[in-house]
């Protein structure tokens, strides 16, 4: 009998290939397939009905989906920009600190160490309209109000953004701080001698050097925020009346509450496009910024 001989590298990689296939590839193919079926969790036999692109057509005309899509893009834009501005500010301040910087850096990482679920609960309590910290603080300062933080649509969105920014600004701060540490001192001194004000030095020398670090943070965070689920689910559950509904809360509602898994999977595939677009955009910017400061494309 002739034994087929596999090349050695293949044999060595086989366990890894099998594991990856089992946990990534098969679910991926399964979910892609099911997005072309009317698959309902409560009626498993629906998995075998092929409906072609029906789910996708349905999504394209679904106002609820597009509302969530637009809200996610808005959420992403506001959160990323806020985190960038705050993170940059924190990093610049930290860079000036000469004493106890190590401790400060560790403290800065604390929010990242909490599970998002806990952060969700924490802010759900803080923003609670009856017993919450914010309203209590407002009242003891003499404002006789009970703002419906998590009930009013706009305020709820604000509260969620606040929680998200609180949790993850340190990603920007840490990466930008790393950039500041890696920054050569000479060009800054040359700029001083060349007549730059501190603002001009920052604008023309420091910022171009930090851009690659900023875009790395942007890429990481855009993938994260586009998947925002835990905090939103805990704090508002997408409510009130879907006014804080983001893509992932909508998907989980469709998939698990309404049990329409085929449709939810189709939504997943459409919304992945969003992440891909952001990633490509930021990577493009990243390599341009790297080339700018002579780090090569």
């Amino acid at each position: 009998m002739l034994r087929r001989r596999f090349p050695e590298w293949f044999v060595l990689l086989l366990p890894a290939i099998i594991v990856i296939a089992a946990v990534v590839l098969i679910p991926l193919i399964f979910s892609l397939y099911s997005s072309f079926t009317p698959y309902k969790l409560t009626r498993p036999s629906t998995l075998w009905t092929w409906v072609g692109t029906y789910n996708y057509e349905k999504i394209l005309t679904d106002a609820k989906f597009w509302a969530a899509f637009g809200r996610t893009v808005l959420f992403l834009t506001i959160v990323l920009n806020l985190e960038l501005v705050l993170g940059l500010g924190i990093a610049l301040l930290m860079n000036k600190v000469t004493w106890g910087q190590r401790t400060l850096r560790t403290i800065l990482m604390f929010p990242m160490m909490f599970s998002p679920i806990l952060v969700g609960f924490q802010f759900k309590f803080i923003f609670n309209d009856n017993i919450g910290l914010v309203n209590n603080a407002l009242q003891s300062m003499g404002f006789n109000v009970a703002l419906p933080w998590l009930v009013d649509g706009k305020l709820a969105m604000f509260s969620i953004i606040f929680a998200e920014v609180w949790m993850s600004t340190s990603v920007f701060a840490i990466l930008i701080l790393a950039g500041l540490f890696a920054m050569p001192r000479d060009p800054l001194e040359a700029a001083k001698v060349d007549g730059c004000t501190p603002w001009q030095s920052f604008r023309h020398i420091t910022l171009p050097f930090l851009m690659p670090f900023i875009f790395i943070a942007m890429t990481i965070r855009s993938l994260d925020v586009a998947r925002a689920y835990d905090i939103v689910q805990i704090m508002t559950g997408g409510g009130p009346a879907r006014r804080t509904e983001l893509l992932w809360t909508l998907m989980s509602r469709t998939g698990y509450v309404d049990a329409r898994m085929g449709l939810a999977n189709a939504m997943g595939y459409v919304s992945i496009l969003l992440s891909i677009v952001f990633t490509i955009y930021f990577f493009h910017k990243l390599s341009a910024a790297r080339a700018q400061i002579g780090m090569g494309g």
Partner: protein, 364 residues
Amino acid sequence: MTEVNLSKVVKFYGKHRAVHGIDLAIHDGEFVVLVGPSGCGKSTTLRMIAGLEDISDGEVSIGGRVVNDLPPRERNISMVFQNYALYPHMTVRENLGFSLKVAKKEETEIEKAVDEAAGILGLDELMERKPAELSGGQRQRVAMGRAIVRHPDVFLFDEPLSNLDAKLRTQMRVEIKKLHQKVGNTIIYVTHDQVEAMTLADRIVLMQDGYIVQVGTPLELFNAPVNTFVASFIGSPPMNLIDGTVSGTDTIKLAGGLDVPVPAAARGQVTDGQKVQFGFRADNLMPEGHAVQEEGEKANLELTVTLTEPLGTETVLFTDIAGTEVQAKMLNPRPVRPGEVLKFRLMLDKCHVFDANTTEAIRG
């Protein structure tokens, strides 16, 4: 008119005192070189003049204006850094024009000034490149171009040539000197290399451990060093120094038993029994038949050559006087083998005497 004046300037880094109250007056258009061994406070002094370091005490004035509390941008100086400090994300053209751009000058004016500087330094071909695409010598030139574009009152150079190879260094040295002749500004130049100092300076400021040891023209420092440190720092090879004791008023007994007369300049300044160091340069100890013909008092010595360093027009001979290694020079050299015994002539008029305790020169 742009004089630079330092008066009792002190620099503390924490508790460490890096510069000990130095006084220095630099005239308009003068090329002054701060030289000294590594760590003696040259860069610190220069950076205080530039405004990149705080002045702990004392006063710095540029063009009659006290600048202690002015930021660098208000001092109208340019600085060339040791590792060039070009802006990596800007082209050569942008690097050159940057100072004018932040000063909000007209586009056309910037272009004119940049082209002029590029012309002076031969950068025309490189204008659209980034610093990463330039060789060391080209980067150095851009750094210099960036300094001259602004027409500053004073140029500050901090070891601008020490990252270049020997040949390029010599070449750039000439260019810097030409640049000074062309623009005529005051230049303060820091280096640890005494050859650079000698070749470039109108006046040399020799520093040691945060103090100024001697200020003078290159020839003053070469011919009349104030102490043994200056004597061994300036000139190559360094001055030969031999321990000795004064005997009577006219004779110095060297450690190994050899007697030499007290050089004319020091006569009457020494006392019997004084411990001294007897110094002379290699140029003043030459083998017979290979020496400069010069009038003056001479001493004849027979010495064994231990090592030779042929340099072409001359050979440096290593030998031994009274147990101390000394170097001599041979003009129109012929091959010499180690171990060969030659007759040497020591030019006594050119010799120096230093007090062994204070290391200071004894001179009338």
